[in-house]
């Protein structure tokens, strides 16, 4: 195995990931492709493809995924049987911006009106449990001026580190006969302490007011007060007031 410097290795890994991602985005757009994960083990390299329609990615009796494996292996010069492709189903496609952008793209190409397509996507995203979403369709078509149509629902943040934690973005182009439109889908996820369908960290300006705990106030011991002459007095325990 040729030794390459660590810097070159990381750059090469990044380039590999970028090219693989771009190839799969174009190839598997119709299958709701959402992303890849590359795991390198000593024996083989595992490529996990996340998609909404895994059945189509696998193909008939696994034919398509075998074809994809062979393409990847030949292009990147992997030795035989050292690269494996797996398809994994996206657990909540309503919260994946890429999947929704592609879905909107196909709706528009299929002839659905802009308002109906976008409202449909917005509603599906909100029903999947998002905190907020924004769908923007922009561009110039023949016979009209350039414009940007924006459909929003729920809550959205725009600035700061929370945008990196909470927001999933995607942009896609849709090539129509009359011109090219740009689609931008922005989904704001809900806070999820378990970390499965949202970020674990709460929003920085989120204040939780805790209920006061029920407590028994301890009874203080009776204090003997100094007096001038010993006077017989009945000493009562002080009453605890809540």
């Amino acid at each position: 195995m040729a030794q390459i410097s660590k810097k070159r290795k990381f750059v090469a890994d990044g380039v590999f990931f970028a090219e693989l991602n771009e190839f799969l985005t174009r190839e598997l757009a119709e299958e709701g492709y959402s992303g890849v994960e590359v795991r390198v083990t000593p024996a083989r390299t595992e490529i996990i493809i996340r998609a909404t329609r895994t059945q189509n990615v696998l193909g008939e009796k696994g034919r398509r995924i075998r074809e994809l494996t062979s393409v990847v292996q030949k292009r990147f010069n992997f030795p035989e049987n050292t690269v494996e492709l797996y398809a994994e189903k996206v657990n909540n496609r309503g919260l994946c911006a890429i999947a929704q952008a592609e879905s909107l793209r196909y709706k528009l190409l299929g002839g659905l009106a802009v308002r109906r397509a976008c409202y449909g996507v917005v509603r599906f995203i909100m029903e999947s449990g998002a905190k907020g979403c924004e769908v923007v369709v922009s561009g110039k078509l023949r016979g009209a001026r350039a414009k940007s149509m924006k459909f929003v629902d729920g809550f959205m943040i725009h600035s700061g580190q929370p945008t990196r934690d909470y927001i999933d973005n995607a942009t896609r182009h849709v090539l129509l006969r009359q011109g090219v439109l740009g689609i931008r889908v922005k989904i704001m996820l809900e806070w999820d302490p378990t970390g499965k369908v949202g970020p674990k960290k709460p929003l920085p300006d989120n204040v939780t007011i805790l209920e006061p705990k029920e407590e028994d106030i301890p009874v203080p011991a009776p204090i003997a007060l100094p007096t001038a002459a010993p006077v017989e007095q009945s000493v009562e325990a002080p009453v605890a007031t809540a």
């Binding site: 528009l108 190409l109 299929g110 002839g111 659905l112 009106a113 802009v114 308002r115 109906r116 409202y119 917005v122 922009s138 110039k140 078509l141 016979g143 009209a144 001026r145 350039a146 414009k147 940007s148 149509m149 924006k150 459909f151 929003v152 629902d153 129509l176 006969r177 009359q178 439109l181």
Partner: protein
């Protein structure tokens, strides 16, 4: 001096958006002051009534240089890439104001260059693209109303609400009146309608 406004129609068809804008210009400049040139003969025959031959707009298939009554030395072409802004004093030396009837893209594709080749004196109306009707109205304010460009109130890229969860951003500069962008009559309906049709 009576100023005349020429719009050289540069789109292959005359769509509803253009129609709305030309009707708006007619309303603001008055009868027989707006020329619509370079209209295709087929299109000329079937112009909608409100911008047709009896509306007060002078429509012709001729291009601007072919018009006999126009003296090229007295024409100003409104061109976004001009170096000088339009000023009230320009009204003393020029009589004709020429605009490209273009349905603009964002960022603009500089389709005015086709008119620039013809060698007219050029002036600009500011750095931000305007719709044809806004450009004519602004030019009228400057030349006839003698108001300098920077004294007029504008809004850039207004976002217009079409519904409870739906807005449209128009990437152009518009004149403002009472805090609202001045849109041609019927544009709001056109925008709502265009979202309801299939794009295929």
């Amino acid at each position: 001096m009576v100023f005349k406004y020429i719009v050289e129609h540069m789109e292959p068809e005359l769509d509803e958006w253009s129609e709305l804008e030309y009707a708006n210009i007619l309303q603001k400049v008055g009868q027989n002051r707006l020329y619509l040139t370079h209209v295709h003969p087929d299109l000329l025959a079937r112009l909608p009534e409100r911008i047709g031959p009896n509306s007060g707009i002078i429509s012709t298939t001729k291009a601007v240089l072919e018009l006999d009554e126009v003296d090229p030395a007295k024409v100003i072409l409104l061109d976004p890439s001009a170096t000088q802004p339009l000023e009230p004093s320009d009204g003393e030396n020029f009589k004709w104001l020429l605009f490209g009837g273009i349905l603009g893209d964002d960022p603009p594709q500089d389709r005015t260059k086709e008119l620039r080749k013809l060698g007219f004196t050029t002036r600009h109306l500011g750095p931000v693209q305007m719709t044809t009707d806004t450009a004519v109205i602004v030019a009228k304010h400057v030349i006839e109303g003698k108001t300098p460009l920077d004294k007029l109130e504008y809004v850039d890229r207004p976002e217009i609400r079409l519904g409870k969860k739906e807005t449209v951003e128009l990437p152009f500069r518009y004149l403002v009146k009472e805090g609202k962008p001045q849109l041609p009559n019927g544009l709001l309906e056109l925008l709502k309608k265009s979202n309801e049709i299939s794009l295929v």
